[in-house]
Amino acid sequence: MPSVIEKPAAQSSGDPCREAAELIASYGHAMDDGEIDLWPQFFTSNGIYHITTRENHEAGLPIGIMRCVGRGMMIDRVKAFHTANIFEPHTYNHIVGYPTMSYDKASGCVTARSNFQVVRIMETGRMELYATGKYLDVIQQEGGSLKFRERVVVMDSRNVDILLVVPL
């Protein structure tokens, strides 16, 4: 996987926003290539991944569609995907817009927002727009590479077609 997350800090470009944009792009590529096993590694060890709807997000309601606090819960999601959950096989294609970003020198964090569209491709060949929305990210260094400390996925629609098992 061509990913900045494996890149040691010494080789980084030194531009945190550029690296954060690469992290955001790499994440989408990894999910689209079926590299779900790598998914937890995109996050800091105590990172948060939360999928919710715009309606919940704007109302400040805490329950959305998926919530992982810490990499352990993400690893459990991956294991459940492989061994427990049953669903019709499918893949995604993410189109992620270029993020707006701001870098806070004091905390070393990049805060980013990017829009996404995800097309879902079923094994029957059926393709359809599955989700649109925005990623709200807080990105920071851990173990020499940039990772998501928080990734909130705000889906525009309240509605999920069939089910959601592969993270967006």
Partner: protein
């Protein structure tokens, strides 16, 4: 072979469809029930417009005067409002003039209801207040002199608030909600909901199957550990293998519960109920299952259905209402409304939030239900004359207090369905 229960008299005198139920009775469901548009149309009339109470919304969703929210009964659009005296009303969302939708948003706060088409304006209880250009413009046009606003209004729907749930019905004949539920069902709803509630989040799911396949699925306690393998995969020590099924008198509502086995009821749990019960598991993130014992009856998991299309789940501490609205013969929108109580501590809210991962569109325990009913829809749609076979636990619909390896509640659904449909 068991005798087929006689359809009750609800639908007596209604024109018969060219349809005969198999002689085996409620242990069979003809696949045609899931695909026939004529049966779907009759359901709208006999069930959703018939003598049933339908879930509309929660009292807590419209807390202030002028609040409204929109929903559906079957496919009929509905508005639920709270008026300036705090009284709740429900009405068909259809202007008395040309029939346009009056309210377009999911929820809002308004002084009155106005149709956007010709500005017919209604009180929050649905009474017509006024009509634009009633007296014409500059003396020209206007309504006839005998036009009477009192003779036009939004079609009212009878409602009842039971434990904070607003139910609505088109029927004048159906008994009150508590009698409709029966004592066992009403008692368990009181256990779960009879205190101030808080909505923690909502979403919906489109499932590509007839609404009755989901109604069956909720009542199908046989499939729980076979299709849904999350607990076994992660070796979750559920302590709740003991359980059973209770059916209402009409058999169409049900309660399925799992109970912490008595021998496992360690003293520290009962003495310190607010402390997290630890569920042994192979989870890397065990915080997912942090839970506390909320009730004295030892029931840790429950699923309760109210005919026709509502369910209340209590999965550990994850309390949610599921409402599934038919959107055509092979499409259903399943709504998830996650709840907590006003009295919850921050720690308790956090546990409910984490446990929401277990159910819903991405539920670790039950996301399979999003596709399994579609698999049945796709498997059966070309053979309407064939039927499903449901004899696990017998051929009748009776409560089974000691086992959940039974299809009794599914048969119960069909018993109630046959009654109200006259099939």
């Amino acid at each position: 072979m068991q005798a087929t229960p006689h359809p009750s008299t609800h639908a007596a005198g209604k024109p018969a469809l060219d349809f005969t139920w198999p002689v085996e009775g409620i242990a069979r469901a003809p696949y045609r029930l899931f695909t026939d548009p004529e049966i779907y149309r009759l359901e709208q009339e006999r069930i959703f417009r018939g003598r049933c109470w339908n879930y509309l919304c929660l009292d807590v969703e419209i807390p202030k005067a002028g609040d409204y929210r929109t929903t559906v009964i079957g496919e009929t659009p509905v508005i639920v409002t709270r008026d300036h005296d705090g009284k709740i009303h429900a009405m068909v969302n259809r202007c008395a003039h040309k029939g346009a939708l009056v309210c377009l948003k999911k929820q809002d706060n308004v002084a009155s209801l106005t149709c956007v088409y010709h500005a017919w304006n209604y009180e929050l209880d649905g009474k017509l207040k006024g009509v634009a250009f009633r007296n014409g413009v500059r003396g020209q046009g206007g309504m006839p002199s005998d036009f009477d606003v009192a003779k036009h209004r939004l079609q009212p729907i009878r409602i009842e608030n039971f434990c904070g749930i607003i139910f609505g019905t088109f029927s004048e004949e159906v008994e009150g909600v508590e009698s409709y539920l029966g004592p066992d069902m009403a008692q368990f709803i009181k256990r779960n909901l009879d205190r101030p509630l808080r909505v923690l989040g909502t979403h919906s799911q489109t499932i590509h199957n007839n609404w009755k396949l989901y109604a069956e699925n909720l009542r199908d306690s046989y499939h729980a550990t076979l299709l849904h393998t999350f607990y076994t995969t992660f070796k979750v020590n559920r302590l709740d293998m003991d359980g059973g099924i209770i059916l209402s008198d009409e058999k169409w509502h049900h309660l399925s519960f799992a109970r912490r086995a008595k021998m496992e009821e360690a003293a520290e749990y009962s003495e310190a109920k607010v402390h997290s019960a630890s569920y042994d598991s192979a989870l890397e993130g065990p915080g997912l299952l942090e839970a506390w014992e909320e009730f004295d009856d030892g029931i840790t998991h429950s699923i309760q259905t109210v005919f026709p299309n509502m369910c209340i789940q209590f999965t550990l501490n994850s309390l949610a209402i599921r409402f599934f609205a038919p959107k055509g013969v092979d499409k259903t929108e399943l709504f998830w409304i996650y709840l907590g109580y006003d009295r919850d501590t921050e720690q308790q809210s956090q546990m409910r939030i984490m446990q929401s991962n277990l159910t819903g569109a991405a539920g670790l325990v039950s996301l399979e239900d999003g596709c399994i009913n579609e698999f049945v829809q796709r498997g059966t749609r070309n053979d309407p004359q064939c039927s499903s076979f449901m004899e696990m636990g017998g051929r009748v619909a009776e409560s089974e207090k000691n086992s959940r390896a039974t299809e009794a509640a599914v048969r119960g659904f069909w018993q109630g369905y046959r009654g109200i449909m006259g099939f």
